[in-house]
């Protein structure tokens, strides 16, 4: 997916005035936050599990080369093939070549954020392939020509009504002439349509929640079971995964899976968990003839060993955005690319570069709620602050902010001068505001006063009063 052109601020502004979007997000706020809290409360060892999860990820990242090679050996031993892609371009080329070699016409896809990251659908469609998303949410955004607005719930920006409108318009072609009256009916339509597609598909592409080094397996979790069908029914199965998805053992994966289901949806386990290990063996009842894994770097190795390595612990649960008051105000599309919310505000500049995502690290109050819920304890606010620091050093901060902060910092280092200046200014402001106690507008403060009054100072500054008190003693 290409990075959106206009600014975060203007997208956020439209999102704030989009009533239907605000209704949809409100559900996320109440429903998922409460569900997660219940699931966590029911598991006394959850905190210890977070530490264990972070430790598993840290250990793997510290020996990433070892575990990736082990994983590759196991995949090959099971009859599969591993492809290494340095960036999005290379990943797309590899996948297109596999599809071409298989003589594919139809591709069914499971939900995969990394495939969004590398903009896979457009590339395959340009080759004349029909690409069908099999996750209901992804199916809907694909049909609407939109991007997912949440990494777990791609259609969280849409109400049931929005979807009914969309299907009424687009599902006539499949013989559904009447508008669906319930969510169940909508899902029924998707099921009917997808069933045909599964059997027609030549290639199934899935993402990966975890790649298990000891067995060469890929684990995906879904609540619709579409992962099973996508990876078993087509002739060729392609797994797309970021290189950070590998974990040493099945045991490690199970710790992370328990964290994932609770953090993402407040569930103890997801409805489906699919393990795929290599192509179909002689005595298997089903499975693909070919099994490919495309391991994608796309900026990840640059994060290894540095100040941002902890971001690679991310298991894509979405808890950080579900708890982010900014995300919950402006929705996922405001962030402009595949990954929204706190994790996106870190990842997008890391993967796409500061120039394409300058605003994201700043669009945050550093309130820390994301870090508090992150199942692998990623210090997201610290990482955002580090990105701000990088921007400051590399000259990405706009001149007004830079000048303002520098001037203020200069003054803050001169207590006597600061005291003299504020000692004069504050009593004047206090006097001007004494009767109402506040200002409706103030020069140079429109950012504040557009939606808020500015409380007036109470009187003289504390330090002026304290100094006088000391003199009188």
């Amino acid at each position: 997916m290409a990075i959106a052109g206009e600014s975060f601020k203007s997208r956020a502004s439209s999102a704030l005035s989009d009533a239907s979007l605000q209704t949809s997000i409100a559900g996320l706020k109440s429903g998922f936050v409460a569900a997660r809290a219940r699931a966590v409360a029911a598991l006394p060892e959850f905190e210890a599990m977070r530490d264990a999860g972070a430790a598993i990820k840290d250990h793997t990242l510290a020996h990433l080369d070892v575990y990736l090679e082990r994983y590759e050996r196991e995949v090959v031993r099971q009859g599969g093939k591993v492809h290494w892609a340095r960036d999005a371009e290379e990943a797309r080329r590899i996948i297109r070549e596999i599809c071409a070699a298989a003589g594919a016409r139809t591709v069914v896809k499971g939900k995969s954020m990394v495939s969004e990251e590398i903009d896979l659908n457009a590339a395959l469609e340009a080759d004349g392939l029909e690409v069908v998303e099999s996750d209901a949410g992804e199916y809907i955004v694909q049909l609407a020509g939109e991007a997912p607005s949440h990494i777990v719930m791609p259609t969280i920006h849409k109400t049931t009504d929005d979807v009914a409108d969309l299907f009424e318009d687009r599902h006539r072609a499949y013989g559904f002439m009447d508008r669906a009256k319930s969510a169940a009916e909508l899902i029924g339509q998707v099921r009917t349509i997808l069933r045909e597609k599964y059997f027609a598909a030549d290639v199934g592409i899935t993402g990966a929640n975890f790649l298990v080094a000891e067995t060469g397996s890929n684990i995906i979790v879904t609540n619709e079971g579409n992962g099973d069908l996508t990876s078993t029914l087509a002739r060729v199965h392609i797994v797309t995964a970021g290189i950070e998805k590998v974990v040493p053992t099945l045991n490690d994966a199970s710790v992370l899976l328990r964290l994932l289901a609770r953090s993402a949806l407040g569930m103890e386990v997801t409805s489906y968990m699919t393990l795929s290990t290599g192509p179909r063996r002689a005595d298997d009842l089903d499975g693909p003839e070919e099994y490919h894994v495309v391991l994608i770097d796309n900026g990840r190795t640059e994060m290894l060993g540095g100040a941002f390595q902890s971001m690679l612990r991310c298991i894509r649960c979405g808890a950080c955005m579900n708890h982010c008051p900014v995300y919950l105000s402006v929705g996922g599309h405001s962030y402009g690319w595949v990954y929204p919310g706190p994790m996106g505000a870190v990842l997008t500049p890391m993967i796409a570069g500061h120039e394409k995502a300058k605003e994201l690290p700043h669009a945050c109050t550093l309130n820390g709620r994301c870090q508090q819920v992150c199942p692998v304890k990623i210090p997201l606010p610290d990482l955002l602050r580090r990105l701000r620091h990088q921007q400051w050093e590399q000259g990405f901060i706009d001149a007004t902010t830079r000048w303002g902060i520098s001037a203020w910092a200069w003054l803050a280092q001169r207590p006597k001068l600061y005291r003299a200046a504020t000692g004069l200014a504050i009593p004047v402001l206090a006097w001007l505001g004494r009767s109402s106690g506040r200002f409706r507008s103030l020069p140079l403060a429109s950012g504040w006063t557009a939606g808020r009054d500015m409380p007036a100072p109470q009187g003289e500054t504390f330090h002026a009063q304290w100094a006088r008190r000391a003199r009188q003693k």
């Binding site: 704030l16 008051p325 945050c364 910092a409 004494r434 950012g447 808020r452 009054d453 504390f462």
Partner: protein
């Protein structure tokens, strides 16, 4: 000055250096005097070092780490001689106790001093409760209040129960918890002027929760948040009084609330 000299001088009274915070200095000096009263009532000798301005957070959160280091060194120097450093803000005190040691950790001359200061620095409510173990002050305040948990205090310093425990002794005050008391009010330092629309949306959500709680008073421990919430409340014409917890505890809440004037 050479090195830190944590001293109890000639009495057993702890010497406390008050970190006033820049917002309290400029906007609400009464909170500073409330701190002085609470600390003195608890048996501390309170001093206010002159060479303090701000903890440096605006620079730190804007990415100017060098300027933050310079301000940090100035603050460390100013508060070197005290047994404790106490301030009426979780946010500023978290900067001093968590961020200073981090940004100065590679500075051979200052890292030790930064850590020493961090170990002696407390947010006011935490200091009164956890260090001095004072009993809730006997004072009175007529009102039905709700408490906003400011983010840094809550998440960096674990301040949650302390103000509530202290407030539990105030006669005439009922404290009702609001929904999402722990969710950010949208202040966020420079965030509130960089992204005013989002900030106003967030503070409006907060006000929805204050309203729903039925409170006539909003209390909190960080003036930044309180200015933000009061500013929006007043813009909406709402009659909720906004005060810092210290003002109530010190019995100094008899003046206009934040954003209220003489005629309110």
């Amino acid at each position: 000055m050479t090195g830190d000299r944590a001293s109890q001088t000639n009495s057993t009274q702890p010497r406390v250096g008050l970190f006033v915070t820049c917002l309290v200095d400029l906007f609400r000096p009464g909170i500073g005097f409330a701190c002085v009263k609470l600390l003195e009532d608890a048996g501390c000798a309170v001093e206010v070092p002159a060479a303090q301005v701000c903890c440096g957070q605006p620079a730190f959160n804007s990415g100017d780490t060098d300027a933050t280091r310079r301000i940090a060194r100035q603050t460390i120097e100013a508060f070197a001689g005290y047994d404790y450093v106490v301030g009426p803000s979780g946010s500023c005190m978290a900067t001093i106790s968590k961020d200073y040691p981090e940004i100065l950790k590679d500075d051979s001359e200052w890292s030790e001093r930064a850590r020493a200061l961090a170990g002696r620095s407390y947010e006011l409510m935490a200091f009164l409760t956890d260090v001095l173990e004072v009993s809730p002050p006997e004072t009175s305040f007529e009102g039905r209040a709700t408490y906003h948990d400011s983010c840094s205090g809550l998440r960096s310093l674990g301040i949650k129960q302390q103000p509530r425990t202290l407030l539990s002794g105030v006669k005439g005050l009922t404290l009702t918890e609001m929904q999402d008391a722990e969710v950010c009010c949208g202040f966020g330092g420079t965030f509130c002027v960089k992204y005013p629309e989002i900030s106003v949306k967030m503070v409006s959500d907060k006000i929805g929760n204050i309203d729903a709680s039925g409170a006539d008073t909003l209390l909190g421990g960080d003036l930044g948040c309180l200015l933000n919430i009061a500013g929006r409340l007043k813009r909406l014409g709402k009659d909720v009084r906004v005060l810092h917890t210290a003002e109530v505890l010190a019995g100094m809440a008899d003046r206009p609330g934040i954003g209220d004037g003489d005629r309110d």
